[in-house]
């Protein structure tokens, strides 16, 4: 069960899928920046699509040098498609694919639960209003907000078994077995110059699932609070190319999992990550890369939670998105 936490993050990762919408204005390279992990308050232009790809590659600390089944690495791939239904409402579908590798050469990979998301855009301009269709650069300096909800459907496989026919650890499964729900909000303030502040918070809850072997498991609720500052560090206005640097603080609270109604050992805790990153935007295409480092952790049973959040050496984040 110690690896459960590593999997539960996947649902949340999908919720952040609308990061990286190229946010430069239609008139040049001005406009708000977008960090990697913190959700920017951007909705898609009406009638436009967003293609999205994200890789979250995590390398974990191992406690022993023996090949004893410790978590070694995970690769979360997220493929997404978004659509701007109205200027203030965007819809997304995400398909996650992950690989988890233990140090004894055990590896599980496959598509995880599909994730659906709705994003409502708001702006504060002499009161709260729905996000506008045609914003000037001066409009972009207003406080922008989003409210978002998303849910996963149990399309992945939650009943994988090993060679002996035994159910593998739920943390290694490629599905939750039940839906999950998330709700959150974000805010963005572009200061009209090179700097943008972005913040978000969200709450994620899971339903209890009964596995084939009769085990009942409910993953712990998760709370995220993120803050980021981005700075435009280079621009080529004629080419509509810009480079942004970002620095983020990503707080994650993990509730304790419940197994057969009882709090599970070696689960839950709090982690604060620091994520420096860079984003390159060319016209309506954007690519970003950063490294997410656990800088402060308070895990419930830290010595037993190898392979969970907070026990990474690093997470390498890469995203690519394009509007069309």
């Amino acid at each position: 069960m110690k690896k459960v936490l590593g999997m539960t993050a996947l649902a949340c990762a999908a919720a952040w899928g609308h990061h990286g919408v190229p946010s430069i204005s239609l008139t040049g390279v001005d406009g708000p920046g977008a960090p990697l992990e913190t959700t920017s308050s951007t909705t898609l232009p009406e009638g436009s699509f967003l293609g999205y790809l994200k890789l979250d590659h995590a390398k974990y600390k191992t406690y022993t040098s023996a090949k004893d089944g410790e978590m070694e690495r995970t690769d979360y791939w997220l493929y997404g498609l978004g659509y701007g239904a109205t200027p203030y409402l965007s819809a997304y579908v995400f398909m996650p694919y992950y690989t988890k590798a233990l140090d004894d050469a055990t590896m599980v990979s496959g598509f995880h639960d599909v994730n659906l998301q709705l994003v409502l855009g708001l702006v504060y301009d002499e009161g709260f209003k729905l996000a506008r269709k045609n914003e000037s650069l001066d409009d972009m300096e207003d406080w922008h907000f989003t409210l978002f909800v998303n849910g996963t459907l149990p399309t992945g496989d939650s009943e994988r078994k090993d060679g002996s026919g035994a159910l593998i650890d739920p943390g290694m499964q490629t599905g939750f077995g039940e839906p999950s729900l998330m709700a959150g909000a974000s805010m963005t303030k572009w200061f009209g110059n090179a700097f943008t502040f972005v913040g978000d918070c969200s709450y994620n809850t899971f339903f209890e699932h009964t596995y084939d072997d009769g085990t009942k498991l409910r993953f712990g609720d998760e709370i995220r609070v993120n803050g980021a500052l981005t700075a435009r560090v280079y621009e080529l206005p004629k080419s509509r190319l810009r480079l942004d640097a970002s620095l983020e603080a990503n707080y994650l609270y993990l509730g304790r999992d419940e197994e057969d109604g009882v709090g599970a050992e070696a689960t839950g805790g709090s982690i604060l990550y620091t994520t420096p990153g860079m984003r390159l935007t060319y016209k309506t295409v954007s690519a970003a890369m950063g490294v997410k480092l656990p800088t402060a952790t308070d895990l419930n049973e830290a010595d037993l939670q190898q392979g969970s959040e907070g026990k990474e050496r690093y997470r390498l984040i890469f995203t690519f998105s394009t509007l069309f």
Binding site: L26, N134, E141, R240, K283
Partner: protein
């Protein structure tokens, strides 16, 4: 994507000379810096162009025909004063921008007819369009406008809202007008405001490829 290319091209035209009408009613051309005119540069030599001049007073618009140009004055008694200058045909070539008639046709990169309009609100409450050519107006009475306020600008052609006009404030492009001809612009300083927009109209069977309208809106903000 077409829109992006259009705006990228138009943005360049917005960096050309500014036209404005000062408090004395004189039409000026040059570069008017935002910081209280310290770096303002004005063309010294009066130039006259084919033009139309309009003066609206107490709701009645009068037209004065005849050539008119830089350094000449419009009536300060007008609630709104507007001048439309027909600056002629131009061509961009590898050796610079020249009068279209003087350009070697094989060397022309692009060509256009340039029409410049400048409108000054002497009485801010007279903010509605005059309905004369390409024109910028406010969407509501700007009498109480202050530094830092955001104001909705309306772009019209003969009084009809125009979408896709590229709008700049003090030389900085801030966006394009929507289907209703609207765009929001923030007033960054007190004093003379210089809000400018560009509209392009492709031409067929004409000596030049397109007609390029530039419209300027002037207003004093206390």
């Amino acid at each position: 994507m077409y829109r992006l290319l259009l705006m990228a091209m138009t943005a360049a035209t917005l960096s050309a000379h500014d036209y404005w009408i000062d408090a004395s009613g004189a039409l000026q051309r040059g570069h008017l810096a935002a910081d209280a005119g310290e770096h303002a540069h004005k063309d010294e030599v009066p130039q006259r162009f084919p033009s139309e001049r309009y003066c609206r007073r107490n709701g009645t618009t009068d037209e004065v025909k005849g050539p008119f140009g830089v350094s000449e004055r419009l009536g300060t008694e007008c609630d709104s004063a507007m001048v439309v200058l027909h600056l002629g045909n131009y061509a961009k070539t590898p050796y610079g921008i020249v009068a279209a008639a003087e350009a070697n046709p094989s060397m022309v990169i692009r060509s256009w007819e340039s029409i410049e309009s400048v409108k000054r609100l002497n009485r801010p409450a007279d903010f509605t369009p005059l309905g004369k050519g390409f024109e910028l107006s406010f969407s509501r009475d700007p009498s109480t406008l202050e530094e830092g306020d955001k104001m909705r600008i309306l772009a019209t052609f003969d009084g009809i809202p125009k979408a896709g006009a590229v709008v700049a404030y003090e030389g900085r492009v801030v966006g394009t007008t929507d289907e209703a001809g609207h765009i929001n612009v923030r007033i960054r300083h007190a004093g003379l405001q210089l809000i400018r927009a560009t509209l392009r109209e492709p031409l067929r069977g004409a000596p030049v490829a397109e007609r390029l309208y530039n419209a300027t809106l002037n207003l004093e903000v206390k």
